[in-house]
Symmetry: C2
């Protein structure tokens, strides 16, 4: 497996904190060649500044660091966490399942070797980023994300609303989430909220019959390379405990899971046999491994399940259908809803965020914005307040399949009913008729809902609805969603968002092809397409040929106008 991540003419740089001078905020700097022009016979060479790029690739792209997947990444945040003095390292892992797996010698060959003992809040201590924020404390994590969001805006003289104090306030008021399980100190702090850069999540995960641990770790790095801000491990097959350990120990971005999947594996796929006890143990197991956020479908109420009966596509969320079935079979309220306060008590001890899963999200254009969906949203609004009461950071998952004219209602209603908690949507797909291209049908919706205020977009790959994504699908899915997120950042006017567009466009206009490639989201692909289509690397491209190059003509006009003035 290639363990180093490289981008052309790029350098990893670290900006220091001001409140915390020791923090080193990672970003990528892309070199540019100078512009050249002529005034008469004189050649004028004007340097072009380096462009700073938001970077999710962690230590893998730092050429000065040695990487050993078997040891895991450096534990960046451990010192910050420990020095706060409010957590303790446990003598052993506390979940029964975790202990059982640990003691099973037959798994030794699969096991990550350097498992550290987990941390947990000391009794009576409130150790979540939200708890600190409410108490007025700006943590190193908060300053880190403030710097990360702004990049080099200060140097460029671009005004920004994002200060460490602003970050703190957004977290305190629940408008933003900083996922930061104290047992995943390897992750670089990032923030999810509508007053920040729009983030994207990617899903990986093996299913019953496919994939190996190596493959999953490789996909995780691959996702981080192309720009995935968080990573959900949706594995449902064998050895998901061990696979998850490998992923978390090597993942520089927050990791999310859907614990009900693993709980269901533990009862051999028999939904009826699921119970609060099994689920609870699964939460603890994963909290202690370092999962940063859990999708929990606690918004499904027994009395709302039937609302999906009228639908064209019923329930398309896996977690949603599992919990609906459980409610109906037992004719009982969902144990996730009933035990939501207990869940939050557990999560608060590790600072795991809750992502309220939209089990009743629409799975077709026909079902968008229906009663089932909005009934669940109301419940989520109730739950988010309960989470915040326990200092648990929370965000809300959203659809799915929604035609463009119904997107706005989704966003406005979510903000209203869920009290400003961040929204995290899957697409939405704006039509159902293009399987094989659902990264595109959904990017159209994602860009719009991102602009309207959605904080994180869950990517969709070309294989959606058809098969599990391979590496190429992950790459295309991530880039497609970086496009949607960046388009939203531009439309929202995020500080400095347009710097890269302007630099790339200037390079394009000046025929600095290499800069055009290297400033792009996918330099390899851009350059590859160009190379395949060209013989000449001159001041025009084969699309137009030398006589028809608009930009060359346009530049010549400008030059002449300039010379005329002299």
């Amino acid at each position: 497996m290639e363990q180093k991540i490289k981008f052309p003419r790029s350098q990893k740089v670290y900006l220091p904190g001001k409140l915390y001078p020791n923090i080193r905020v990672a970003m990528r700097k892309v070199e540019q060649v100078p512009s050249t022009s002529f005034e008469g016979d004189e050649k004028i060479v004007t340097p072009n500044p380096e462009v700073y790029v938001y970077d999710t690739s962690g230590p893998f792209s730092d050429s000065s660091m040695s990487i050993d997947l078997k040891k895991g990444l450096p534990r960046l945040r451990e010192e910050w966490i420990v020095s706060r003095g409010d957590v303790e390292q446990l003598p052993e892992i506390t979940s029964e399942y975790g202990q059982m797996r640990r003691d099973d010698k037959s798994l030794d060959h699969l096991r990550f070797e350097h498992i550290a003992l987990p941390y947990r809040a000391r009794k009576g201590e409130a150790i979540t980023q939200m708890a600190y924020a409410k108490r007025g404390i700006i943590t190193p994590e908060m300053e880190y994300v403030a710097i990360r969001e702004n990049m080099n805006c200060e140097e460029l003289g671009i005004e920004t609303h994002i200060t460490p104090e602003f970050v703190r306030k957004e977290i305190a008021e629940g408008r933003a989430v900083l996922p930061a399980n104290i047992n995943h100190p390897e992750a670089e702090p990032m923030i999810i909220g509508r007053n920040f850069l729009v983030k994207i999540n990617t899903n990986i995960g093996n299913s019953a019959t496919t994939s190996s641990i190596d493959e999953e770790v490789e996909k995780a790095l691959w996702s981080c390379k192309w720009g995935g801000d968080t990573l959900m491990d949706l594995s449902t097959g064998e050895n998901i405990h061990e696979t998850r350990e490998w992923i978390i120990r090597n993942c520089p971005v927050p990791v999310g899971t859907v614990p009900i999947y693993q709980a269901l594996e533990k009862v051999n796929g028999v939904v009826e046999d699921l119970s609060w006890e099994i689920y609870r143990d699964t939460l603890i197991e994963q909290c202690e491994q370092g999962v940063d956020y859990f999708t929990i479908h606690a918004g499904i109420r027994r009395h709302n399940v039937h609302l999906a009966d009228e639908r064209l596509c019923g329930i398309v969320s896996r977690g949603g259908s599992i919990m609906s079935k459980w409610c109906l079979v037992h004719n009982q309220e969902s144990f996730l809803y009933e035990h939501f306060d207990d869940i939050c008590d557990i999560l608060a001890q590790y600072d795991v965020a809750v992502s309220l899963g939209d089990g009743l999200r629409p799975g077709s254009i026909h079902d968008a914005n229906d009663k089932a969906q909005f009934a669940e949203l109301d419940t989520m609004g109730e739950l988010v307040l309960r989470a915040w009461k326990k200092n648990v950071q929370a965000f809300i998952e959203g659809p799915g399949h929604v035609p463009m004219h119904k997107i706005k209602e989704n966003m406005e209603r979510q903000i209203e009913k869920c009290h400003d908690a961040p929204f995290y949507t899957l697409g939405p797909l704006v039509t159902d008729i293009a399987p094989g291209y659902d990264h595109i049908t959904s990017a159209i919706g994602a860009a719009q809902i991102g602009w309207l205020g959605t904080a994180m977009l869950c990517y969709v790959t070309p294989k959606e609805h058809l098969a599990l994504p391979d590496k190429e699908d992950v790459r295309v899915g991530v880039i497609t969603y970086k496009i949607a997120a960046h388009a939203a950042d531009l439309a929202k006017g995020h500080p400095g968002a347009q710097v890269r567009d302007n630099a790339l466009s200037k390079a394009r206009y000046e025929f600095r092809w290499k800069d055009q490639f290297d400033l792009s989201l996918d330099p390899e692909r851009a350059q590859g397409y160009f190379r395949a289509g060209h013989h000449i690397d001159g001041e025009y491209c084969t699309m137009c040929g030398p006589n028809f190059c608009a930009m060359r003509l346009s530049r010549d006009l400008k030059k002449n106008a300039h010379n005329d003035k002299q």
Copy 2:
């Protein structure tokens, strides 16, 4: 070259007119398998209706027709045109260049063999669809498009605002264009206007060094196969006169060109040498070949050229930069603007529509909605009125590169300044940072501007800015734009637009995989992805595995609920 176009389980069908019982409006009908369910032990089989699909593939997808590219397509509209009694067939082509090419024996091996003599309006007759519409005449072309837009809505009981009279009114008032050069009788009538289905245009065309006639004709068919509604031939190399003849004679959709490209070839690429006389002869040459609409950059005024000086990317339109250079070199008003009435007089004689080219469209996010762009739009608004006075159908080209928050102003301003003439945009791209993925950056903008009222979207392929598209790029570009257009149709509530989404989603929910593929925009790709990723063709897919299939669980719940009720 494969000359037949096939879609799985599809049949070409023809609906008759009511006003004109002899017209046969082509569409594609897709079969579905029945749904099966169980009530207790009883198997219930419910048939699913055939789904009608808008079809741009012309006779190529009619298995009962024999195709001979050397003879060209059947001349569908010739009888309609001739029977109106207001055109005459000319004794010979009238453009000098056309005559020269005809007499050049060295071109015989390239030449289409069955060139018919051109038609032209009899003196004093106004023969454009707009002229008829203004006189209250509903032509067969108008009834054809009314039926085509509605598909089988009547049978399905779906209400529609689109009647032949509505079509007439929209054309009369300039809100819609029905491109229908009397010398391209092979084309099936279609309509471009914001109260109709959103259309897409594809560009093909060789440049100086690449491509052959065969390749260009093949690309044309390929574009029609995947759903291109019109086709622009942007060739700039050798033998473009002959290539164009082959394309038009075999093209079932309207063909557009940018005549200034060929005019420039005629003066060996020397912009200064362009003249009204050369341009005029080019217009006549192409009118008589059957081009259905011309992009004409008459909106660039001498005094507006300098407005682009402040830009990051100057002028990115080829036509725009050519005309700007001409204006500056000669220090004179553009001959396209000066002779616009003469141009319209020519176009009116063949019913060629004018597409007012946006020579000053922005080529970067930075330049969007600037003075240069909007100054040109004002001029276009003036020109469109002049075109309509001469009964010339007209539409307006638009950008380009525009961030999402600036898209709405483009549309609203265009409607206001251009008096409701249809808008035809290139994307717009909502960010500059993703060369290699500009079909996606632009589809995001295209879907939005289509929803807001843009009538036709010019496709962008993954190779935009990098190289000329190959066949795979054309396919991806067309499908991507079908997605954008269809998403806009859904959002606008076009009659029946959702029928296909609903059918495909129902098929998905019922695990009718074959129907899911065959109802999709690209059945081959959907099925290919599925096949590559699956061993089992059962009631779940390998994405979730058998225990985690939400839709299967959801269907089981529904079944049980149903059985409980009995």
